[in-house]
């Protein structure tokens, strides 16, 4: 088990530095995508956007029709993807477009201690 050093305990990670925030990495298979916008709606942070609309447009009903191909938004310095890997988008997608590569892991005092980086489906023990 990794415990915190004093430095880590008090160090606040820089939220837009990829060395200190490993954002989750989800991959869209754009060939299968029907552009229905369900992943955009389901995203807890509104982090999935397209060139034409964002989550606020879809939930308030301002935007209708084909949404365009989804991507994950980044912070203003373009270095960190805004994604925590809750995978609600993956559950919402009817076509199995989304897959996950990496889980969300902040560093220093926000480090996840008892969670391994690998992600698995619920297991029937």
């Amino acid at each position: 088990m990794n415990y915190f050093t004093l430095y880590e305990k008090y160090k606040i990670p820089t939220y837009d530095d990829p060395g200190q925030i490993q954002s989750a990495e989800i991959v869209f298979d754009h060939e299968k995508c029907h552009q229905c916008g369900l992943c955009i709606t389901a995203c807890a942070w509104g982090a999935i956007v397209t060139d034409f609309c964002n989550r606020a447009d879809l939930v308030t009903g301002k935007f209708k029709g084909k949404t365009g191909l989804p991507r994950v938004r980044k912070t203003a310095n373009e270095r960190v993807k805004i994604c925590m890997g809750c995978l609600t988008c993956m559950a919402a997608c009817p076509n199995g477009v989304i897959s996950v590569k990496k889980s969300f892991r902040p560093a220093y005092r926000l480090n996840k201690i008892c969670q391994a980086p690998e992600m698995t489906y619920p297991k029937h023990y």
Binding site: M1, I12, P13, T14, Y15, D16, I21, L38, T41, A42, C43, A44, W45, G46, A47, V49, N54, R55, A56, L58, V59, T60, G61, R73, T75, A76, N77, V80, I82, M84, C86, L87, T88, M90, A91, A92, P94, V100, S103, F104, P106, R109, L110, K112, C114, Q115, A116, P117, E118, M119, T120, Y121, P122, K123, H124, Y125
Partner: protein, 252 residues
């Protein structure tokens, strides 16, 4: 004992058996973030609240108060005010939204004040969600027809926050099992910064303080599926007092 002589009404455990209905509800429940406009029938809301009434609590203290908001007008105003206060905070502290000197000033302000003092409220997930809301990328209440606010009784036995969490999870699971979508909405805490909302719902009036809130409504899309989650490292003690524990990778 149920009619067939088994201890549980859903049968007994066999290794590798498929999920029973309760497990299925737990495993396949996902937060629903878009609801149909259609309001929920009052008796359905009462039925969902009934499972919260029978939630376990320390010392049977029941340290909670439930507030049902089903007025679209009030929910729209909650949404507006939550967005407004988010914009106010993130103007000063939302450094990931900015570049250059503004980011620098904002980062120093954030790191030396809110992130240190309110580390739970400004942890990464709420922080990113709030920057997104401040930029108009997302909305808080997902157009839900019903919001249930749970207040926590400070005088509660032991740790009342845990009891509030248990009652809330009963609501969420019962809702899912009845075909109603639910989503925890901790951002209602933002409303406690408005005297107007504090007065209206008694959010911080003794002995209560804000606990959490839950959006309910008929889901506008189907999101019930299992998803992968991180493997957990679980500590097992099996031998004698002298033996050390071992860590097992749960879920692999």
């Amino acid at each position: 004992m149920s009619a067939n002589g088994e201890v549980s009404p859903l049968g007994v455990y066999r290794e590798g058996m498929p999920w029973n209905p309760v497990e299925k509800v737990i495993m396949e429940r996902r937060s629903v973030r878009r609801f149909k406009k259609e309001p929920l029938p009052d008796n359905l809301i009462r039925r969902i609240l009934e499972s919260a009434r029978f939630a376990p609590s320390a010392g049977n203290g029941q340290p909670w108060k439930f507030i049902v908001v089903k007025s679209p007008e009030i929910i729209a105003e909650m949404e507006r005010d939550a967005a407004r206060i988010t914009k106010f905070f993130m103007f000063f502290y939302g450094y990931t939204m900015y570049k250059g000197w503004r980011r620098l000033v904002s980062k120093i302000m954030a790191n030396f004040s809110v992130m240190r003092l309110y580390s739970n409220e400004f942890c990464t997930p709420p922080f990113f969600a709030m920057t997104q809301a401040a930029e108009g990328q997302t909305v808080y209440y997902h157009g839900a027809p019903v919001v249930i606010i749970i207040l926590e009784d400070k005088r509660g036995v032991s740790n009342p926050s845990v009891d509030v969490g248990i009652a809330g999870e009963h609501i969420v699971l019962a809702a899912h099992s009845l075909g109603v979508g639910a989503c925890w909405m901790g951002f209602s805490r933002l409303l406690t910064y408005y005297p107007k909302w504090r007065r209206k719902f008694g959010l911080n009036k003794y002995p209560y303080r804000f606990g959490n809130s839950i959006c309910l409504g008929y889901p506008a899309y189907k999101a019930d599926k299992e998803v992968p989650k991180e493997v957990q490292l679980i500590e097992w003690y099996e031998g004698s007092m002298k033996d050390s524990s071992r860590f097992e990778r749960q879920g692999e």
